[in-house]
Amino acid sequence: MSVTTFKVPVGPQHPALKEPENFTFTVEGESIVKAEVRVGYAHKGIEKLMESKTYLQNIPLVERICGICNTAHTICYTQNVEYLYDKAPPRRAEYLRVLIEELNRIHSHLLWLGVVGHEVGFDTLFMYVWRDREIILDLIEALTGNRVSMSFTTIGGTRRDISPQIESKMRKGMDILEERTEYYKRTVPVDPTILARSKEVGILTPEEAVQLCAVGPMRRASTLRDDVRSDDPYAAHDEVPFNVISYDTCDFYARIMVRVDETLEAINQVRYCLDHMPTGPIRIRLPNTPPIAEAVSKVEAPRGEDMHYVRSNGTDKPARYKVRAPTLANLAPLLQTMTSRGKYEVNVADIPVLLAGIDPCMCCMDRSVRFVEPSKGKTWVWTMEQLKKYTRKSVRRPLSGNVAGR
């Protein structure tokens, strides 16, 4: 090939979101031939810190691993500690956990859909979606007292109960959100701006998804029907029915549609929880010191499988606590989607949407871009803003097939 290769560094300022990580892309003209990543710019040392705090003190800390999916981490942590005691919380608390988890999923997926709108240059969608997201934030505030960090779950159950007033408010909110999400579901498959940036972009084949251990919507957009809620049910997920969503186009478009459909599923799950909420207490009291044991807990966070591991040593502090947030699991698949291979070509202008595609949460795990062209010995750095400008200017190759007709 006569085209020379460049290496393009991206980061540590994120091309798409507001967190730091560093990517190095090796490019041949427009086409990316290799992608590398370096994280750790936001490493907080939470695992080490947790070893010096009691189980109860760790709840607020775990909640701050991630702002957006804080509920997933708290539920995962609290049920992990409950596994150590081998005790289950009251059924009502388990339903409340599913309720708050699904509210969190709606909020997270809508936030992401807005970001996607912004990344592809469709800011009207961004503003529409984020306006609708306010509904869910208000409901979360009514239920928990906080808009984002919910402080809702605790060891042995939940901290708050739901009142009939909030319940009726929530039903109304769900009706509006359902109507709006249905509208987005109709919009995405026909809107030319979204389709041009998403169809056949960032392919991850099912085989690659399995080999690279992709999780969450990323995995389900590659035809695989794996979801912790159905494969390893926790809380009340053994009773609350839902459909595992998967799409078979394996591209960025499929990742959008999986999340839109999951939002609709989550709305139905919230309704089911409200309809079937058992009566009874919301919390059991547990002693401060759990028995010596090991436990593994998994939760389907909005971004995918969240896994925690705990080992107790007979004191009121954990001997070892491990958190594997979904973004770390999706890094290897992400690099794969950003590499041109065989018939799949990936261009520089696809970078922001692909990064947004895994719904990265680097603080749960890190952004600028470095480009390198070794044959010319040339290296340059773009900030995300420069890259985004470039993305919006550049025109994508024509699509194969009649996309708008789908």
Partner: protein, 157 residues
């Protein structure tokens, strides 16, 4: 998922390796197995390729004093299996799983950074989480590493 999958996986592993160091089923859909470090790779390969637990949730480690436990979490057939092997702290070496499951690449690099465990045969064990100027040979998640320099704000006179 059929109940009893935990037992059948445990007995299959016994058939492969003879006596296991530790087998526990703490709750449904959880299985903890401890093997000798020399059996670790064979056990993981069998779990992934023959039993079909092809999703590796993560690889992590824990400091137990003189030794460090390397723990691999595999999921499939409705069971989350924890495969554990203890390596001595003086020579913490264990074979890599990257040739069986390429997705474990970053997990092994993370553990190499934080615990100093060397994964034999890993294609690229460079710094991943820790900063470039982090001192060589200091592993923050080992028990002997104490966070002292970071405590409290600096005094202002």
């Amino acid at each position: 998922m059929s109940s009893g999958a935990e037992e059948s996986i445990a007995s299959e592993m016994k058939n492969l390796l003879g006596e296991l160091l530790e087998v526990k089923i703490p709750r449904p859909r959880r299985l903890h197995i401890k093997v000798k470090p020399e059996d670790y790779k064979r056990a993981a390969k069998h779990l992934v390729e023959s039993i079909g637990l092809n999703h590796v949730s993560t690889i992590t480690a824990a400091d137990t004093g003189k030794e460090m436990d390397v723990m691999t979490f595999l999921f499939g057939r409705g069971v989350e299996v924890m495969l554990k092997a203890a390596v001595p702290k003086t020579d913490p070496k264990i074979p890599t799983l990257t040739d069986i499951v390429p997705g474990v690449m970053f997990y092994e690099r993370e553990i190499h950074d934080l615990f100093g465990i060397v994964f034999d045969g890993h294609p690229n064990l460079e710094r991943f989480i820790l900063p470039e100027d982090w001192p060589e040979g200091e592993y923050p998640l080992r028990k002997e590493y104490k966070v002292t320099r970071l405590k409290g704000p600096r005094e202002v006179d």
